[in-house]
């Protein structure tokens, strides 16, 4: 595939590279410029609240991570080692919770918890745990599933009871996976934004939330920029440390090629599996059920008013909330459609270029992954303060929000497509060429057709990301152009009013849309999994 002519590679890569440069690199530089002024730095770093916020961000992330690991280990073990009826459903449910928009998770917990716990740190941590359970189950579970069971049998022949086997052998062996999962969960909870804004009390602020508050409420752009870069530096440090630590502790274990799952054999095992799987099901299903239920609860009792009168945001004659829920739905759908279109086009071009271009392709791949490492708030904030002067004053453009969403979605499209494209047998291209096709034609006929299905998966992922995106949109959306997540956040804040019930209605709709998209992705992907030779 490196025999493709250079002009083709350039033509493929030019779009993605330009897009990345304009919409990611340039805002990043602007952010740096805003932050690196003496006053901004000294003011922000000398303010006591800055360090209190940093401390809180770290503290709640650590507690959330530990709690998620502790809660998730038993379900990870059960789902990795045992086959039982409903297993795939449970795994699917856990995954669905993971891709749920943050505002929906916040709304679900708001609906679930009694008012006394609402808006406390514990509500936030609880939401974090449920969100990230899937990470522990999948990351740790996938290692556990392939651990040689004979090692545990060997320990048993040496006199180790079930408990001793678990603590002395199994735990140490899955430790690399636990560390990897913990790092991922820590990164997600460190940059937590939507959950904090919905579930946290007004004073609960992580660095992300404070960046938003400083920039949009207090107009302190410099201070917000300093905080954003502070967070970025922390993220880079954590990721580097974890990569180094993992490499040092990497050890070769002879993993099984096939899964070691089996049906529970003894009645003790049956009870154990039932207990853990049941508890896991409850933990993930309860918030969603509470969400749907609350959408029918109005201050005057149970009714479908919130559903039927969606769009009626009147508080007093002539006075409305200012956000029309129905309009928000339309805005979200429009944004999602455009964001998906952008992400799919850019993602397709980039994937083809990455796979065809060897080393340069890897650089492009890494570059396109950068927006994932940068928080959504930072991306939106950067775009807002960059594109505000003619001739680049794009703040009012209809396409700015979809572009922001596409930036975040492209990495997912690329990962899906590159994986499939790379598994195409290169001999096919050679075969086509021996039949007389030019390199370009051979490539087009044998490689490109494999792009369509992963692209469809990427499209579904991009759509669900766009629908649920909250961080970047908090900065980029204009009055009248609010999306569903923004409308949900506004509506849920009106405690004790029918407007809050409307917030739950919107959250339910968003949850349903996400679940449908996840199901589509799973359906599209299963034939892929078999084909890629896993």
């Amino acid at each position: 595939m490196n025999r493709l002519p250079r002009w083709l590679l350039v033509a493929l890569a030019i779009g993605p590279v330009t897009g990345l440069a304009i919409f990611y690199a340039w805002p990043f530089v602007t952010l740096l410029a805003e932050a690196v002024t003496a006053t901004a730095i000294t003011d922000t770093l000398s303010r006591r609240s800055t360090w209190e916020i940093v401390w809180f961000t770290v503290w709640q992330a650590v507690v959330s991570t530990v709690a998620t690991i502790v809660v998730g280990l038993a379900p990870a073990y059960v789902l990795a080692r045992f086959d039982f009826r409903g297993r795939t459903v449970l795994v699917g449910l856990l995954t669905a919770m993971f891709v749920l928009p943050t505002v929906v998770m916040g709304a679900a917990f708001l609906a679930l918890l009694p008012d006394s716990i609402d808006r406390t740190v514990w509500a936030v941590i609880g939401a974090h745990v449920v969100f990230n359970l899937a990470v522990v189950v999948r990351v740790v579970g996938s290692l556990w599933e392939h651990l040689p069971t004979d090692m545990e049998a060997a320990a048993a022949t040496l006199g180790a009871s079930r408990w001793k086997v678990a603590t002395q052998i199994s735990m140490p062996l899955v430790r690399p996976a636990v560390t990897a999962a913990a790092t991922i969960v820590f990164l997600f909870t460190f940059t937590s934004y939507g959950v904090i804004r919905i579930l946290g009390a007004p004073g609960t602020r992580t660095i992300e939330v404070e960046v938003w508050r400083r920039a949009t409420q207090l107009g302190d752009v410099g201070g917000a920029a300093v905080l954003a870069l502070l967070q970025l530096a922390a993220l880079v440090a954590i990721v580097s440390w974890s990569t180094v630590a993992q490499r040092r502790h990497a050890r070769a274990i002879g993993l099984l090629a096939t899964s070691a799952r089996r049906r529970p054999r003894t009645s003790g095992e049956y009870r154990f599996v039932a207990l853990i799987a049941g508890a896991a099901l409850l933990v993930v299903a309860a918030p969603l059920a509470a969400l749907v239920l609350r959408s029918f609860s109005t201050p005057t009792g149970w009714s479908t008013t919130a559903w039927t009168d969606l769009g009626e945001s009147e508080i007093r004659p002539g006075i409305r909330l200012g956000i029309d829920p129905v309009e928000a739905v339309v805005n979200s759908l429009t944004n999602a459609a455009w964001a998906t279109a952008f992400a799919v086009i850019v993602g397709a071009l980039a994937s083809l270029a990455i796979v065809a271009a060897g080393r340069a392709g890897r650089a492009l791949d890494g570059g396109l992954m950068l927006p994932l490492a940068t928080s959504a708030v930072t991306i939106g904030f950067g775009m807002l303060i960059t594109f505000d002067t003619a001739p680049f004053d794009w703040r009012a453009s209809w396409w700015l929000v979809p572009v922001g969403h596409a930036l975040i979605a492209v990495p997912f499209v690329v990962r899906t497509c590159v994986g499939v494209l790379r598994s195409v047998d290169p001999a096919l291209v050679g075969a086509a060429e021996t039949l007389g096709a030019s390199p370009v034609r051979a490539w087009r006929a044998t490689v490109v057709p494999y792009l369509w299905r992963p692209l469809a998966v990427g499209a579904a992922l991009a759509a669900s990301i766009s629908l649920g995106e909250f961080g970047a949109t908090s900065f980029l959306s204009r009055s009248g152009g609010e999306t569903m997540p923004i409308a949900i956040e506004q509506l849920l804040g009106r405690t004790g009013s029918v407007l809050q019930a409307q917030g739950f209605v919107l959250a339910t709709l968003l949850a349903a849309a996400t679940v449908v998209l996840v199901v589509i992705v799973e359906r599209l992907q299963s034939p892929l999994a078999g084909r890629a030779g896993r």
Partner: protein, 213 residues
């Protein structure tokens, strides 16, 4: 009921789905006797070992260790040690920690179990290997550690699953002699399965064909 010391498997039947792997199979190993079970690959001899160890539950049959019916007991309470074909050394523990694992599970104090482990390592010809990582060992060294580990736990019965399969010729022959010596010197009751007739005659007191059982 110690009138029949050693290992007895009586009427063991195991089916995996429709496939019947073992059908009413019985075998006896006397005290301090080393018996080799011969059979081609896939004939079910490893399965028989795993039934004895308690890793596989048979559809029918009994397992007796030194005359005690342990069929209902979990593996760790049977007093049965096993050397696996691929060793199954614990990669997160050092060599000495691997060998001392059995005594540790039995509650032996640290200094005593370290001393015991060191002795066993010397016995299998690996003095000074205490602090090595198991991932750094050669095939022969790993096999010896696996053997030391099983024996250090002082089990009533030792099971060996194709212990020398896969080693190169020279190593194979050398280890076969050493294995025979160690098993004899320690007076263990042992059942080993293999498909190599010469290996069986070198190591064991008595050879049995699975097909005859």
């Amino acid at each position: 009921m110690n009138d029949h010391p050693g290992l007895d498997l009586e009427g063991v039947t195991v089916s995996f789905g429709q496939l019947r792997v073992l059908d009413d199979t019985s075998i006896s190993v006397g005290a301090s006797e080393v018996v080799a079970l011969l059979g081609p690959s896939g004939s079910g001899k490893s399965t028989l070992l795993r039934v004895a160890a308690g890793i596989i539950t048979p559809d029918a049959g009994r397992v007796l260790v030194h005359g005690v019916d342990v069929t209902a007991r979990p593996t760790h309470l049977r007093g049965v040690g096993m050397v696996f074909q691929d060793n199954q050394l614990f990669p997160h523990l050092s060599v000495i920690e691997n060998v001392a694992f059995g005594p540790k599970m039995a509650g032996v104090a640290r200094s005593e179990r370290t001393e015991r482990a060191t002795r066993w390592l010397r016995r299998v010809g690996l003095p000074g290997f205490d602090d090595r990582r198991v991932t750094d060992l050669s095939g022969g060294e790993a096999k010896r550690v696996a053997l030391a580990r099983t024996l250090a736990a002082e089990p009533a019965v030792v099971l060996l699953d194709e212990p020398l399969t896969g080693l190169d010729r020279e190593l194979h022959d050398r280890l076969a002699d050493e294995l025979a010596t160690i098993l004899r010197d320690t007076h263990v009751t042992a059942l080993l399965v293999t498909h190599d007739r010469d290996e069986a005659t070198t190591i064991a007191d008595r050879t049995v064909q699975l097909a005859d059982l």
